[in-house]
């Protein structure tokens, strides 16, 4: 029932929750698709990489959604626990995944776990919006099936967190039994929790899970696996993205004004046919300088705020894109 699915996508795109029954079906379908995916999903360029998709409107309107017909997307985990609409966000991504299975790749983030979602709000949100925890349960089930990473043209490795001392090669990720709650240690945990840091070798992570890894580790890994770049999310980058270690690793952050208060800008990474990297930076739509509204037609009833605002946003984002996108 493609029409059904399209309707759901439309609905979710408007941030309206879909019915519990729909969620159930959607999750079952998504599971069917995800189980066929590799732990490290192979993706061909050109592709858009985004990380930390929390505020779906901004991300979708600027990048992913518009491009879905022409390019593939990789999404970097932590779909939930962010903002007021994480149920809708996740379900929308899921629906898009079901609708365009080859075009979108979803990668698991450390927040895609039962334990974390119970603490950071996704559970409560499901409970609040659906009155029971079923939706949460189904979503969690889907989390277990999400891929752990993706590799673009064999050259760009996408993962939510970072590297693991237990993994020398990307191929070793393939022998991880990923269908489980994110464990507290071990390679799977590290992939989702680690962070790059200005250290040498490995270090203990202040997060309590995963590790810190230095430039040497990153470069060795990149060299051994013949990759040019590791793209990850997991950390806030005020400028939307942050390249480290001679551009062997980049943190892509796609949630502008994170948690509605960080005031950061966000970015998505576009990889073209030759894996050229282009970072498209954008800000939170409403707080962006919007262009001027149309003149009021008569004193008491000037143009409706929301329309003007909406128009403004679109123009602004385009402008922002022009201004900020830079070629690397």
């Amino acid at each position: 029932m493609p029409s059904d699915l399209d309707r759901q996508i439309e609905q979710l795109y408007r941030c309206e929750p879909i019915s519990e029954e729909d969620v159930k079906r959607l999750c079952i379908k998504a599971r069917e698709i995800l189980i066929e995916e590799a732990n490290v999903q192979v993706v061909d360029s050109p592709v858009t990489v985004s990380g930390f998709c929390s505020t779906l409107r901004t991300v979708l309107s600027t990048g992913m959604f518009a491009r879905r017909t022409s390019e593939a997307c990789i999404d970097h985990g932590d779909f939930v626990d962010r903002g007021f609409y994480s149920v809708e966000t996740f379900l929308l991504l899921l629906a898009l995944k079901v609708r365009y299975p080859e075009r979108i790749t979803l990668i698991r983030g450390n927040h895609e776990s039962r334990q974390i979602t119970q603490v950071y709000g996704f559970y409560d949100e499901c409970q609040r919006k659906y009155g029971s925890s079923n939706v949460w349960r189904w979503c969690c089930e889907v989390f277990d099936y999400l891929a752990l990473g993706a590799i673009v043209d064999g050259r760009v490795f996408c993962v939510h967190g970072g590297l693991s001392p237990n993994l020398q090669g990307i191929d070793q990720i393939r022998a991880i039994d990923r269908k489980q709650e994110v464990p507290h240690d071990g390679p799977m945990c590290d992939l989702l929790w680690s962070d790059p840091d200005d250290i040498t070798g490995w270090g203990l992570s202040p997060r309590g899970a995963g590790f810190l890894f230095g430039a040497d580790i990153t470069k060795i890994f990149a060299h051994n696996n013949a990759i040019d770049l590791i793209a990850r999310a997991h950390q806030l980058a005020m400028e939307g993205y942050k390249l480290m270690f001679d551009k062997t690793i980049v943190t892509v952050w796609s949630a502008p004004n994170y948690c509605y208060r960080c005031g950061n800008v966000a970015s998505i990474l576009e990889l073209d046919d030759n894996l050229g990297q282009e970072y498209k930076v954008f800000a939170h739509a409403p707080s962006v300088r919007s262009s001027l509204p149309e003149p009021p037609s008569f004193p008491l009833h000037p143009p409706h705020f929301t329309q003007a605002q909406a128009r403004g946003c679109i123009r602004a984002t385009k402008r922002e894109e022009r201004e900020f996108s830079l070629r690397i």
Binding site: E20, Q115, S132, D171, L292, S297, L300, A308
Partner: protein
């Protein structure tokens, strides 16, 4: 252009003064004081002018206003204070003016907009109404400004700072209107309409703020000395300014509501005044008057007034005053309030139906009476608050209102929760609804239903005492004589009782939802109290409702929710409840009463899960059972869920044991009964192979087990549970698995149509293997389980999927942990399959490693380390589409370097040091050898040492079990024959000829296996056969030296004895890796002889093996024993 920066917080780096001039640079001091509110002058200027930092601005505004607040008391204005204020204001403005002039001059010096973004917020388009058209006067930046004690609104062109598009004095009378969020519209005294259309709502807000502040000061100044007493009653002319001036709100009436609203808005900007307004609204029943106005307006159908009322009401609510909320929640007011809110001016053509809804749809049920008036009231209030929050104000609500509403709700909920726990009768009554008299007795509860609520109410205090006594810790049941007459009927039974029971269940569910909102200690206390008071009886009743009816489904779902909440918070309490049930049932039996068979909560859960056809119920119960039966807690939490554990009651180990006992005694059969419906996999596979052979589709397992979605889902959960039990319940579940036939049936699920079910089934076997329990493993082997597993692996091998990853993980796990027996058995029984998999492009490397591991185990070679390292690059090989071979090459060189040392050290006669070194390295590498037999580490050494001798006396020492090792060294040494590099490098690309290599390898690698583990003639035959095969194969590679080199190298890594024997003749012609050259010098001398001799070797050795095999069979060998039961039984017999 005054103190643009004034309120800019010093910490905010982005906010730079608009006009960065020298004299302003010196002002940070005043900037900070602004924020602290000490320097009043700045305080006033701050908010009113171009401040950028919202926080700073607000602070400034509040501080400034607070300082003057006594002047605008709602009731009375003190003349004295007023005067003081006025002078203050004047002083302030004077000060400002000075500063400003400086600033203006400063900015004039620069004469242009600076690059800093500071003014950007107030980017604005200026429009003038000419005729009926708004004419664009240009784009500008707009600021409030003070000049000559006059407040001005100035818009300077964006393009040219000095071009002033608009400059107008701000007037006291209320001509300014703010529309939407970004428009300010007004009419000049000369009748010209202007509109400022801001780009940014914040900029608009600031300017708007400025206008209002100015107006307020001016009206203060005008009135301060004059009107010292409040004007009562409606004024002849009501304007915002007048209201503000008068200091209190006029009595609401048609037509002036808008003014009132504006007045409230501007007055409420300071906290103290806001409080007074709220107080005033409450004490004067202001809202009631508004309701009256609304009624009038509704009668007159005056939409305008209704809209005004609505936004006025919204404004009042947004004052965020706790007591005000309490006020409007009163019965006689609330409906009026939501009534006003029905007319949202933003949807002028719509009207909401809140009142209708509250009247007709929402009903207050009270299945169990709450006997406390205040609590009852709180329940109602909470409902109304939620209604306000989630429905009425949902659109308009802002963060602070949301928080206030929320906290109101939570405070109420805490009170309710406390009451429920402390009210002795309430929970008792709830529970007794679901108990028959016997049970009530058994549990030592007072049969409360016989007491009329009225009685309870009449002497509440007395009841309290009674209750306390009855629930005395002794808990001894009443002497059973008292109710002996009663026929024991399950409750609830009558229709009415059932209806009531349903409502009670919903009540509990809501209580649980409520409980989850409150803070942890209170929450834990609530759930614990619920469990202790036996609320689970209710849950049990609800869960046993028929699923066929809608109401039953609701009940089951509610029960599931309650149960989940209880399990989350008081797991051990729930377990304890089940045990209590068991005890009670036993006691009942022992008392010889004929009572209906009682099932425990646990049993019921199993039964319902198995029976249910509802996915939601299945998942709920599946999860609940999982929680309930999970005995091993996660490792110490990294995440802040730890709190719950902290408050949880202590784990009661013996209790858990008894609980599990009960489960395995009574429940597990029921739970896993559905597996009985699945055929054993053999009956499936039988057909399967026939079919796949006939169609000859690369042994693809055709999914044949097709089930309904509900069934699939059920098995999914059952498999998950089974896996969990297997990992956690040790002997109990082992016994169950061994004694039931469950494994073979689970194996059938490996062919299920739904992949996730296959995966779930697979995970069960993975759990079995992971335990490394020999009995379990033998059992699996006995039932041939690895066959479907390997089939599944093969089927999934074509694509890189989750399932294939899991399969690989299983075998990788076996290899890594070196589960010798398991690997051995697998290879013995399913060698062909494994070898086929090793040829698979995707899984190949991993299974080759697996095979290698097996070979290593069986033929421990002299240098273990070499093999342990080699697989690493191999394993990583597949991914490197580009440079990988190089990387691998490097790895290889690296490892070689390492190895150089070891062989050199180990090649001299036995040396304890080298031995330890080796051990260290092995463990360091990958812990591949941990379960190595004691012989393994030392053997290589002895073998090395003994090598030459052995070779010489080949035939004589052949009875030694260590024979294979003895033969190994020649193989190793042979590569040392010097050859030069070109070929060597070519040999580093093993991937290229992998497929041909592995089968060849396979032939040669078999012999060691029978040697160790399998006595008997058959092995000899097998060996012979293999050697026959290997011989023809050996010449062929010799024609292609480079390829052969590749193979050879890997073979060396494998320390593959027999292969070397077979191909030794070619060795001299082929170069080998440098490490060999270095490491081998000592043996070199003796090398040539043996290699030559080895051409005849195979035959001899085969004979040897025969003997050895016999010897092993004859000796009381320890190793083969466990492996026998599998398939070899028949052979031996």
């Amino acid at each position: 252009m005054s103190s643009v920066h004034a309120a800019g917080s010093a910490t905010e780096t982005q906010t730079q003064p608009l006009d960065a001039t020298p004299d302003q640079v010196e002002q940070p001091a005043s900037t900070t004081t602004t924020n602290t509110g000490e320097a009043l002058g700045d305080g006033v200027a701050g908010p009113s002018t171009a401040s950028l930092d919202t926080e700073g601005r607000v602070n400034g505004a509040e501080k400034a206003a607070t300082a003057k607040e006594p002047t605008i008391g709602p009731g009375a204005l003190q003349p004295g204070e007023g005067v003081v204020t006025m002078s203050e204001v004047e002083h302030v403005e004077g000060a400002d003016a000075e500063q400003e002039q400086g600033a203006v001059i400063g900015s004039d010096e620069s004469g242009q907009w600076t690059e800093e973004d500071s003014h950007e917020l107030k980017r604005v388009k200026v429009y003038e109404l000419i005729g009926s058209r708004w004419v664009d006067q240009g784009t500008a930046f707009c600021f409030g400004d003070f000049q000559d004690n006059e407040a001005l609104l100035i818009a300077r062109a964006e393009a040219d700072f000095n071009h002033v598009i608009l400059s107008t004095t701000i007037r006291t009378n209320d001509v300014y209107q703010r529309q939407q969020d970004t428009l300010i519209v007004w009419t000049e005294p000369d009748g010209v309409d202007y509109a400022l259309s801001f780009q940014d709502p914040e900029g608009c807000a600031e300017v708007w703020h400025f206008i209002q502040e100015v107006q307020r000061h001016m009206s203060n100044r005008e009135d301060a000395g004059v009107s010292s007493s409040p004007i009562l009653g409606p004024e002849p002319l009501v304007s915002t300014a007048n209201i503000i001036r008068s200091g209190h709100l006029p009595q609401p009436q048609l037509g002036i509501i808008g003014e009132i609203e504006r007045a409230i808005k501007s007055l409420a900007r300071t906290n103290a005044i806001k409080e007074r307004i709220c107080e005033y609204i409450q004490t004067e029943d202001y809202i009631k008057s508004m309701i009256n106005v609304m009624n009038q307006a509704e009668d007159l159908e005056s939409l305008e007034n209704l809209h005004a009322l609505c936004s006025c009401m919204q404004t009042i609510l947004m004052l965020n005053d706790h007591s005000l909320y309490e006020h409007i929640l009163e019965d006689d007011i609330f409906l009026g309030v939501v009534g006003m809110l029905e007319y949202d001016p933003e949807f002028p053509t719509h009207k909401a139906n809140y009142r209708e809804f509250l009247h007709q749809t929402s009903r207050f049920h009270q299945p169990v009476p709450l006997r406390d008036e205040t609590i009852q009231k709180k329940v109602h209030h909470t409902y109304r608050l939620q209604f306000l929050k989630d429905v009425v104000l949902a659109r308009a609500i802002d963060d602070s209102t949301f928080n206030v509403l929320n906290s109101c709700i939570i405070f109420n909920q805490i009170d309710i929760i406390n009451h429920v726990q402390n009210d002795p009768a309430f929970l008792l009554e709830v529970v007794c609804t679901f108990l028959d008299d016997n049970m009530i007795e058994l549990l030592g509860l007072e049969p409360l239903r016989k007491v009329h609520p009225q009685d309870l109410e009449n002497d509440k205090d007395k009841m309290d005492v009674d209750q306390a006594q009855e629930r005395s810790p002794s808990g001894v049941p009443y002497p059973n004589g008292t109710t002996a007459d009663g026929v024991c009927r399950p409750r609830p039974c009558t229709e009415e009782e059932v209806v009531q029971a349903r409502e009670i269940i919903f009540l509990i569910q809501q209580l649980c939802v409520m409980g989850k909102n409150v803070q942890l200690p209170a929450r834990m206390a609530l759930f614990r109290a619920l469990v202790d008071r036996g609320i689970l009886f209710g849950v049990q009743w609800a869960m046993s409702q028929p699923e066929s009816e809608e109401q039953g489904r609701q009940m089951i779902s509610a029960a599931g929710e309650i149960l989940t909440a209880l399990l989350d918070h008081d797991l051990n309490g729930v377990r304890g409840h089940v045990l209590k049930q068991v005890v009670a049932a036993e006691r009942e039996k022992s008392m010889g009463k004929k009572v209906p068979e009682r099932e425990t909560m646990l049993f019921l859960m199993c039964r319902v899960l198995v029976k249910s056809r509802d996915l939601a119920v299945q998942s709920q119960l599946g999860e609940s059972l999982r929680t309930l039966l999970e005995t091993q807690q996660d490792p110490p939490d990294v995440h802040p869920m730890a709190g719950i554990k902290f408050f949880q009651r202590n784990k009661d180990e013996p209790g858990v044991e008894r609980f599990l006992d009960n489960f395995y005694k009574f429940c597990i059969e029921t739970l896993f009964r559905p597996f009985g419906d699945i055929p054993e996999f053999r009956t499936l596979t039988g057909r399967l192979y026939i079919r796949s052979r006939s169609s000859y589709v690369d042994s693809c397992v055709e999914p044949r087990l097709t089930m309904s979605r509900e069934r699939t889902n059920l098995f999914l959960y059952l498999c998950d549970l089974l896996s969990m039990f297997t990992l956690q319940h040790s002997f109990r579940i082992h016994f169950f698995i061994l004694s039931s036939n469950i494994a073979t049936r689970v194996a059938s699920l490996l062919t299920a149509r739904d992949k996730h079910l296959r995966l779930a089934a697979f995970r069960f076997f993975r759990a079995c293997v992971k335990l490394n329990n020999q009995n379990l493993f033998n059992y699996l082997l006995k039932h041939d389980i690895f066959q479907p597993i390997l089939d599944l692996t093969a089927e999934e091998s074509r694509r890189d999927t989750l399932l294939s990853a899991s399969c690989q993980e299983l075998f990788e796990h076996m290899r890594k942990e070196n589960m010798k027996e398991a690997i051995n058995q697998c290879m013995i029984m399913y060698e062909a399959k494994v070898r086929t998999l090793a040829e698979n492009p995707l899984l190949g490397p991993r299974f080759q490693n697996f095979i290698r591991r097996w070979e290593m185990n069986n033929a421990p070679p002299p240098e273990e380390e070499k093999k342990t390292e080699a697989p690493i690059p191999n394993g990583a090989r597949r991914w490197g589409q580009g440079r990988f071979p190089e990387a691998e090459e490097e790895d290889y060189f690296n490892t070689d370097d390492d190895e150089d040392i070891v062989p050199v050290m180990s090649s001299p006669p036995p040396n304890p040091r080298s031995n330890t070194l080796k051990r260290k390295r092995t463990t360091m590498m990958r812990r591949q050898q941990p379960p190595h037999t004691s012989a393994a580490p030392s053997q290589p050494l002895s073998a090395l040492v003994a090598y030459d001798d052995n070779d010489d006396v080949d035939g004589t020492e052949s009875f030694d079990v260590r024979l294979p090792q003895a033969d190994e060294p020649p193989a190793l040494s042979s590569p040392s024959i010097p050859r030069k590099l070109p070929e060597t490098t070519s040999s580093y690309f093993p991937t290229t000829d992998e497929p041909p290599a592995s089968p060849r390898m396979s032939h040669k690698q078999i012999p060691p296996k029978p040697l160790v583990s399998q006595p008997g003639d058959e092995q000899d035959d097998l060996l012979e056969h293999i050697f026959n095969n290997s011989r023809p194969s050996s010449p062929s590679p010799s024609s292609k030296p480079p390829e052969l080199g590749a193979k050879r190298r890997r073979d060396d890594d494998d320390d593959e004895l027999l292969e070397r024997l077979a191909t030794r003749s070619k060795r001299p012609s082929i170069s080998q890796s440098p490490e060999k050259e270095k490491s081998d010098p000592p043996p070199i001398a003796g090398r040539v002889g043996p290699t030559k001799a080895a051409e005849e070797g195979p035959k001899k050795i085969k004979l040897k093996f025969g003997v050895v095999g016999a010897a092993v069979a004859a000796s009381p060998s320890t190793e083969p024993a466990p492996s026998d039961p599998g398939t070899k039984e028949g052979d031996n017999g």
